[in-house]
Symmetry: D3
Subunit: 252 residues, 6 copies
């Protein structure tokens, strides 16, 4: 059995506290089991050099862990003087995923900086970051709407992420904690929209392989998990929840 | 008048939540007004190379801010690939201060890593870090006592810190928030022990100077403030509070 | 129509020249259309620190492009003083993929260093790297067999990779060149074994999303493409081709 | 007794050679006992980005040691690729101290770069740097006066620094050499102006603490020492000495 | 005897394949014995900051080795995060040599980036790089002539390089391979023009010295070798060969 | 005419002050015209990893300039976080030159660290560094002889360096100052031994070329200059001068 009698297709308890830090335009603390991530979204009134003059915005993400977010203390990346490959990979993933559901033309030449800082880790930090960052970004756009900087919510659809995997005994499971992740033969991160489309699929058989049938089972587990997670996002967003997709509807 | 009708010799509300993060040996969240710092203390069973073979321990500190701990987003030091002068200065200060009240011979060849991560900043982050880190370190030693790795609390006295300053109009004030700090002519950080001895005095007249009389007034303000702060540390520590100084008493 | 009348499910011409560079234990030049990658495999008689004492080997990969491999000159990563996120992501992918089909226990405490250096790029450099690196690694193990350092080929199965994608008009295509890749809504890299199992699936809808049906179509395209590629690997390997999987058969 | 029969309240022999290096606008070699520092002040006709458009100047300092300035050879910071925390702390201190006695509005949008390079070290290198840098900066402003770039000396008051400390046996001493510094329980650096005001007070009880009474004793020792040092600065400055403070007098 | 019965004054077989990589304006693969270098020349329509506004161009070179170009695998400089002293020295040499035979005024504010990437090394990589880079640069200028960006070939004379040395037994030899280079007492690289003038002479007696007579012998060997090499450059250049020096003749 | 009526074949005034800094085993201040370099030699009782177990020593050199050694302030290499190509080239040159006249077998597994720090520059800093470093190294070996760590002076011959060049008007000159160096068409650094053998010849025609005849003229100028410089080294060395070459004589 999984810890705390969790079903193989069950998520860990999730909560999303909005407006967690006072300074950023959008901020949440997301908790998924024992994984806790502060997601802050900051709006900057300019875009990076490669985007200038295109009349559209950009979303970029940074991800980090506090040194004792993990059971063993990690050396701080600022002390090492460089960011690890794993960190860069996660940062690129978060940024790409968020950009896929935002109409960047609508926000003008602005950059949304998303900072995901893991203060406590127990597996699934990258998927929790995406799920939490989505809410932080919507809150930040809410601030722009409030200040009449923009007049439509530029977010086209919900976006959430979770992990699925296959244990050494062949059991497929949803939302792996750190211990499960260490033991799994296959580990897959899925990012999906509210309308059930894929944004990212990253499946890895580390020193192992997986069959086409196992792939299908994992995709189904992820599908049902992500629907549940989006409900938690909706209640964290309150009245702003209703404005997701308003631009899409208008265009259709 | 100061914000929220604070007296010139008044502290902002302080709270210290013990056992904040699950993985570290000692962990607190300290809140001083709007300043919030996670202080984690980790015990490693070896010392840095320059200390080996001396049969004594070491305490070292790292300090960082989340990018949006501040009103303007700061570039992450891991992205810049180097740690700023300000960060290094604060790290050295925290480490030195903690070492002054710990009997390093008693803890054996172990390193205490103290991580102070500012998640929200509003002035006084270095003094809040020292005050919180002290509690995290005592909690970590409590874990060693519990596991019978050591048999006496190696902490000789309480340790806390605060800031004092002189505003442009000459008013001396205690515990400056960010706005006050920006306007002050003189800024002084004082670290003291429970028995009223100095550990560090750092007084700076940035583009200004201060008289010997002003120095004395600031020292008195700090003195009374630090006494109050130590009471908050005591209640956060619970039963462990009684063990501070047991080694010193024994030796006397 | 695609360039040179290629079908949507057609691969570009592939060639793999074995023993391309004289110094490495295994070396190939792989050409996929206009993409050319030198893949060298070096055997080192020790493993990285985190693997020591485990009586097993390790495979690690590095990937780079010559500055003028591309239409625009890129700044050399050694001049920038750091490796980009994209490079790290690809390096981690190549290493993970190769480790999934090698029995690391059999090679003893040795590291296989795989260097994939793109001398000319036209899309699909990471999948060409995996396909070529697989052959270089088998050649290097062939050298160990020849010198009687090991007595069984430690490679359990073939391994090859290709890309699939969906153009803006919804057409699914196999093996994208650079121009197609720039225009595709969805880009997916698939790494598979000779027996048709997945090793890695990385599907990304950059500023776009894709449906479950589109995913299935892409998986089928990849499947047929990879079978063809493995035939090219076999002829490049010559007599060594027969020894792939000998360890697996024995164990079954 | 202290080396060479020095009294507890006695300074080591000090000399300041003006115009030591030919290229800089201001240059001195300061010798304090066996400590020797080349202090160069360079005038640049622009300010750093964060100061632009404010119609005022800036003073910034860099500090370094030759590798064999010390008894053991130190690794060159350029070889390590980064500047140590200690170096940064000293650089920030020197810059802050100099800015406190200069009217930055008067010098226009110019930067004064102060370089303090320790060629031989025997304790007190940071205080010797401040004392010497002050003279180098006045000499550089002298050059600007001579060339009629400015018409008043922008330096408001003298500025000098020294160290005080308390030995393990409780004896308070002035101007510690390296050996004394290594043995002291408390180490304090004081920067003061010609009119007896404090600019910086940095007192540290490394693995020790000090009482309020000890603090007062050290402040008095520093006070008398700094008066003597300022006399040496005056004679090094020659006719320029008379112009220090002319701006202040005018304003009063 | 030297390998493959080479005479002491004999070169190894040389070939230069023009238009080797498709993207760069000029590209060759030069082979000298077992040494193989890809030399690419790229034209950028601007000059580095220190050259701006001078109405003239610039030529800069970068040099690197693939990790397994050598018998032992080298750590990639991008992984080390810095470029070695040897690499920088070679880059500076290649750039300086090429600039000595090009009229930089004629090419306007353009930079020629020369990339020399050694894919297989067996001694003489820096001289092969210069010889090959010269041809790549002429090819790139040929592209500019073709596109009527310039109307005269800006290359004033041929440029080629080789090495000479003295073996431990005193024998002077031309064009050292790696093994000979390791055994030589003196190693000298000579860069000359088509008209027999020197551009660079770099003679080094590593842990040895050489007499004035030995110097003269080596200079003569180099002279005859370089004449032969220039013939190979001419045939690689085809019709463009005739245009080398047209500007010089015109001016005379 | 040259400055201060110097002849074309005349050196600038040279002085070498021995025992300049108190801590290093060997230390000099060398002055050549307005160029001033502190050369320190430190003995370390171990060799770098690549030399271990060979029962012989090593000599390595570092070179740096103070930021205001030059007319324009240079950015400190420690601030830039990396050492320039020019610096590395000079460091390698100094180390190679010194090793050519020292019997490394005699000094045992020791490293001689040579630090050349230019405090004032006016051309010829690399040749002054070699000339001064030679004396510092002999002084350091003198210390080892005195302490009976070694019993023969391991230095086989004198070593000195100077520059020669050809001005734009074709005049060959000896020992170029900064202004002459900037105007010269050809610049050549020569390192020779006391017995008139070459150690290094580095001749560069930056954006120019030079004829075989010009080369011979420059070699002769250097030859006579170096003889004069060695006389200055002899008088700086005092009684130690007599011991140079004692090992060589013995072996012959």
């Amino acid at each position: 059995m999984r810890k705390e009698n969790r079903e193989n297709n069950g998520l860990r308890p999730i909560s999303i506290i909005p407006d967690y830090i006072i300074h950023p335009e959008g901020s949440v603390l997301i908790t998924v089991g024992n994984t806790k991530v502060i997601c802050n979204a900051s709006i900057e009134d300019r875009v990076p050099p490669f985007m200038r003059g295109q009349q559209k915005g950009w979303i970029t993400a940074e991800y980090a862990m506090l040194p004792r977010a993990t059971a063993q203390r990690n050396i701080r990346e600022s002390s090492k003087g460089k960011v690890s490959g794993r960190t860069m990979e996660i940062q690129r993933l978060i940024g790409r995923a968020l950009r896929s559901v935002v109409n960047l033309d609508v926000i003008g030449e602005r950059t949304v900086w998303v900072d995901c800082d893991v203060i406590q880790a127990d597996g699934g930090t990258r998927t929790a970051s995406i799920t939490g960052a989505f809410v932080a970004v919507v809150l930040a756009f809410g601030k722009l709407l409030e200040n009449k900087v923009i007049d439509k919510m530029p977010v086209l659809d919900y976006l959430a992420a979770t992990s699925v995997g296959i244990l050494a005994d062949g059991t497929p499971i949803l939302d792996l904690d750190y211990e499960e992740d260490s033991q799994a033969n296959v580990d897959m991160n899925i990012v999906m929209t509210g309308s059930g489309k894929y944004v990212e699929i990253q499946g890895t058989g580390e020193e192992a392989t997986f069959t086409p049938e196992e792939l299908q089972t994992m995709l189904q587990l992820a599908n049902s998990g992500i629907k549940e997670i989006i409900e938690v996002q909706k209640s964290a967003l309150g009245p702003l929840a209703a404005r997701i997709g308003e631009l899409r509807e208008e265009n259709s």
